[in-house]
Amino acid sequence: MKMKKTDIGVVAFMYIVCAYFYYHMLQLKASSQTYPRFTIILLFGLTTLYLVQMIVAAKKHGVESGVDVVFKDFQPKQFFVCLCATILYLICIHFFGFYISTVLFMAVVLLYLRISPLVTAIVIAVIVALIYFAFQKFLGVKLPVGTVIKALRK
């Protein structure tokens, strides 16, 4: 099997994680270092082993990009719109509370993904009702109201 260039990113990520944890581990008392040290060494050793495997594979079979396999059929616009909408949804929950943010988020994503307005309205109503009855009524979870809404109420 050829070495995938995309795996270089995986190895780099693992080394960065090891370095980050190692740096912070050194600031701990000696007695608290035992187990983190063990796990850092374990991850470092396995990552190095994988790096060796990659080099051997590159020498034996050559190198391939790997991007075409990893991101086969990838729809960048659709993916990033959904990702950004999700992040914005989280921020909105903090400011405008759960229900307003949920309705907005679902409407935006469903309409963007070409779901008809009628179906969009039905889906939103079903999900909001499900959450209200299952979480708020049945489980007694007080969902976030939002800082803006709280301020307006005052």
């Binding site: 495997q53 990702l83 979480f135």
Partner: protein, 516 residues
Amino acid sequence: MLETLSLMGAGFLNALTPINLLMMAGGVAMGIIIGCMPGLSAAMGVALMLPMTFTMKPETGLIVLGAIYCGAIFGGSISAILIHTPGTPASAATAIEGYQMTLRGQAGKALFTACYASFWGGLLSCISLYFFSPLLAKLTLKFMSAEYFWLSIFGLTIIAGVSSKSIVKGLMSGALGLLISTIGLDPITGVKRFMPSSYFAEGINTTCALIGLFSMSQVFILAEKKIKERNKATKFTDKMSLTREERRIIRPTIFRSWIIGNLIGILPGAGASIACFLGYNTSRQFSKHKEQFGKGSIEGVAGSEAANNAVTGGSLIPTLTLGIPGESVTAVLMGGLVIQGLTPGPELFGKYAPMTYTFFAGFVLVQFFMLGIGLLGCRGFAQISRLSDAILIPCVTVLCFVGSYAIHKNIMDMVVMLVFGILGYLMRKFDLNTAAVVLALILGPIGEKGLRNALRTSRGSISVLFSSVVCWVLIALCIVGILSPLFMGKLEKKAEKEAEENSGADIDQLTEEDSV
């Protein structure tokens, strides 16, 4: 013996309370819906529903999770039979014969066979759950700190190795999870470790990590692909039943598949997706009607479905007794157990025996609900299975957020869930193993306590980790665990190849769905 029988009886009485029965029905229906939708998996469904069980009694919560698990494994067969797309990888072999039956106008018969075989497979698997679990749990009474350390390592080697394309990458995922599990206060000295804020004092919230790694990551997987319209579910008019002769024909098949599925389930690291192909192949080997295979054989459907549902009871044995879940779903189930404050092992069969036996009884009753709901609701579930990914994406996202918030009512939990969702997505893209990270988050603290207590009693000498026979047995099992993917991979490939040869179906096409 008498004590066990009375516990079993009391378990049934407790399980038969109205709330438990209601939860069983709800859990099974939810599981079937999740299972029959090709974009969702059993592990994802159980992870998503985990927060709902927090406020319930432990036994009720576990019954719900068990019901979702069983329902999802069966639910996968509905879309496999009607739209030729297995809802879960565990139903890939069912699609071969099931869809052929649908083309022949026997969809009702195929669905009945799947439901009937799933029921018997699941029900019979409860026998081993009842009999082997207490015995295996007693074994762990001999475990000391060092043994618990090795046990946690063994659990990781098994799941990390088997569920990944590369053994080293799987182990790397496990090690990454162990490292993440060290975030928070030191369990022995109370020193702050790797904490960006006091929110992380109790470590990473396992439930948020579970929801993120299994459910939110799946949303991103769905969001990156072009939204395709699913095949139209075939409307069937034939009767959903089997003749007496047909039932007689599939009886030995179900029995064989039960044994296969159960053994595969007990074996940590092997799951329902392997069992369904082994069950299917074995049904052909012993069939007197081999010519029907590839053209719509009820024995093929029964063989596959009885085997994958027999895995459910079997896979709970190592999970509940040793704390070693063999696959993603049981890893999530174990998360549910730990979150309820319960530790797998002898305690479950001693101090918490009434709760455990109530769960077992509930698991038996769940099979009856699966049969009833499965048969009555097949037509409706078939339509749900066509639900577009475009609708699933925002719906599952909202449930992930509300689920993670419900635990501690803290918005930071939502942030953690989203971070793990993105991490899980990237891990799946680069063939790392999300199940290993989850398991490491659960087993990490157990392993850490084991290692540090062992070193403390031996005054820092690591020889204590090699001081008993049990330690050496566990070390040997760790080595077997690391090497097992070589064997399991071959076994799965062989079973798939045989199924392909027997039926002429394109197995790769059926198993291409990326589900955790």
